[in-house]
């Protein structure tokens, strides 16, 4: 227990302070955990390794968790990994259960974070060895599996799938990125727009355009009707929260946390896939899948435990292979090298104190996140009582900051916000569906790279079926998910005809 000497009051203060700042970053639409870590990275130089990591890990846990606040209350995902949180959290808030939804989300986040932390602590090297069994082929199949959720999320199967593929298509605009293994050539860029579009559209501005600006345009179109009053939020009345909502959800929580952790472990699959996969699994295995998307607590639980499950998972490849599991942990490498510490397969063995201190920091961060958010919910929930004519301009301004700073100061990202705000507004009127669209957009680039690279490396289409037992298992899951979607959509139609 030598590491206990590293746990100083400063260490604890940094974890808690980091978590607090992280929550704020996560809660502001457009600001992400990655941004929070990037901003504070230079500070760690003077703090020393353990204290620096304490701050950064607090920011990481806080940032991932804070995203649920605007997702639930405003329907705008604060970070890409809280997209699926909006599906059920926002409908709950709309019917006046915002506070309850937040409490469910926070508790699930805590469960997800803690489960993944255990996985990290006890199985990191084993999990890393398993992760390197995943070649391009298996990674493509994981993405394909995540893409099947497009079908499950569609209200109208045909339009939903079309929207999803449109999302993939639009994500391909720009260069075939060299740093992902592409050849750096442009495609799908209309002549004359190369100056702006050579790197394509960035995810975050697209996301907040579709969910933030589009929603405000919708409201403007309707003449900005009055918002909920303080009574509507039902603070302490009506549908109160109690931990009994989690009854019967243990399997859901553990499965979702496990999925989140596992996606985190796979380098290059991307953090947003975690909550998407967790959500689609929860829906598939639910007895009442038709309630998903209408304010179903189980969906909220899956999404939030999934994205917090990512936190521990993403540290596995970082600390046991020296390879980051997502964009935030990529920055943590910087914190190590700033201090002259190598991360790689020998890290845990060579630096047991640092390793223990990190785990401890994560644990404190999860507890701090839970405690702080639980207390603050009351005030968060009041956001919906702010008059819309005050709230909307400020949201718009925050979206601009988020879009502009996400890539460290690129004005085109701000215009992207407007383009996709308008697109989102028109798309809904055309019957296109935003949820599958954004999922296609997020997963499109990875789907491309792994699909093309699989064929480039193995030169045979059958490789997708014959590569390994993992591939076979993934196919079972993909087919199962598709069958479930078709079955669900039939069942839903039957339910609708019966009720009408």
């Amino acid at each position: 227990m030598e590491f206990l000497s590293l746990i100083t009051p400063l260490f604890l203060a940094l974890v808690v302070g980091g978590t607090f700042v992280g929550i704020i970053f996560g809660a502001i639409p457009g600001m992400t955990a990655t941004m929070a870590v990037a901003v504070c990275l230079p500070l760690t130089y003077s703090l020393g390794l353990e204290n620096g990591l304490a701050l950064l890990l607090g920011l990481y846990v806080g940032g991932i968790s804070g995203g649920l606040v605007p997702a639930v209350l405003l329907g705008i995902p604060g970070t890409p990994s809280s997209i699926t949180t909006t599906f059920d959290g926002y409908p709950m808030a709309q019917r006046g259960e915002g506070e309850k939804a937040l409490r469910i989300g926070i508790t699930s986040s805590f469960v997800g974070g803690t489960i993944s932390l255990f996985a990290l602590y006890f199985f990191a090297p084993t999990l890393a060895d398993f992760a390197i069994e995943f070649s391009y082929v298996e990674k493509f199949l994981i993405i394909l599996f995540a893409l099947t959720v497009m079908a499950a999320l569609s209200k109208d199967m045909l339009m939903g799938i079309f929207s999803g593929f449109l999302g993939i298509f639009i994500a391909l605009i720009g260069t075939y990125d060299i740093s992902d293994g592409g050849n750096g050539n442009l495609r799908l860029v209309p002549p004359g727009t190369e100056y702006w579009l050579d790197s394509g559209f960035s995810l975050l501005p697209v996301l907040i355009g579709l969910f933030g600006l589009a929603a405000i345009l919708d409201e403007a179109e309707l003449g900005v009707p009055k918002g909920q009053s303080r009574e509507d939020v039902k603070i302490g009345s009506g549908s109160t929260f109690s931990f009994s909502v989690f009854k019967g959800q243990a399997v859901n929580l553990i499965r979702s946390s496990g999925i989140g952790t596992f996606v985190g472990i796979l380098p290059g699959v991307g953090g947003s896939a975690a909550s998407i996969l967790a959500y689609s699994n929860a829906k598939t295995f639910s007895k009442t899948p038709e309630t998903f998307g209408t304010g179903e607590p189980a969906g909220l639980m899956a999404s939030e435990s999934g994205n917090n499950g990512l936190t521990g998972g993403a540290l596995v490849p970082l600390l046991s292979l020296g390879i980051p599991g997502d964009s935030t942990t990529a920055l943590l490498i910087g914190a190590f090298t700033l201090q002259g510490i190598q991360v790689g397969p020998l890290f845990i063995g060579n630096n047991p104190e640092t390793w223990n201190a990190m785990i401890f920091a994560m644990l404190i961060a999860n507890v701090a996140m839970f405690a702080m958010m639980y207390v603050a919910i009351r005030y968060f929930a009041l956001v919906v009582t702010i008059p819309k004519h005050v709230l909307f301009p400020i949201i718009l301004m925050m979206c601009v900051i988020g879009a502009y700073t996400i890539n460290y100061g690129i004005m085109f990202d701000v215009w992207t916000l407007l383009i996709f705000g308008l697109f989102g507004w028109v798309a809904v009127k055309l019957g296109l569906e935003v949820a599958p669209f954004i999922i296609g957009f997020i997963l499109g680039p990875s789907a491309e790279i792994y699909f093309v690279k699989s064929l480039e490396s193995f030169g045979d289409l059958t490789i997708f079926f014959t590569k390994s037992w993992i591939a076979a298992v993934l196919w079972v899951l993909i087919i199962g998910s598709l069958i479930a979607s078709v079955y669900m959509s039939k069942r839903q139609r039957k339910l609708e005809t019966r009720s009408s």
Binding site: F165, R187, V390, P393, M397, V400, T405, V452, L455, E456
Partner: protein
Amino acid sequence: MDSLTQVTIDFDRSHLIFPTLIGSILVLLSLAIIAKRRHKLAEAGAYWGQITGHMDKPRFFGTLALTVLYFSLMVPVGDIWPNTGLGFLICSIPYVFATGVLFMHERTLKQMLVMLVISVFAPALVWWLFTEIFFLTLP
């Protein structure tokens, strides 16, 4: 038989494979949608007429116009004091105020004053926080 499934990828042209594949799927799906929905398509004109008819035009187009103006001015204004984020601050104040007033229903003097105070303080606070404390680049 083996040759049927074999593919050789030319790396220099590999950037076109996936766009072609997804593009073809999109074309097929749109054909299916057109076939299924041709009746609805015929009514498209009336549908959009209804939407624009019911729309709160001043608020909707006002928001768009203000936003375009806001985005266009931010960089030129910011260029006067490079790398200070003042372009953002100076443009945000009138934008927040104007949009707030546009969305307001009862435009009393008191409400306007409240909005004015908010539109000065909110951007200033945000600007201070992000440029001075977090050291981020704003226009």
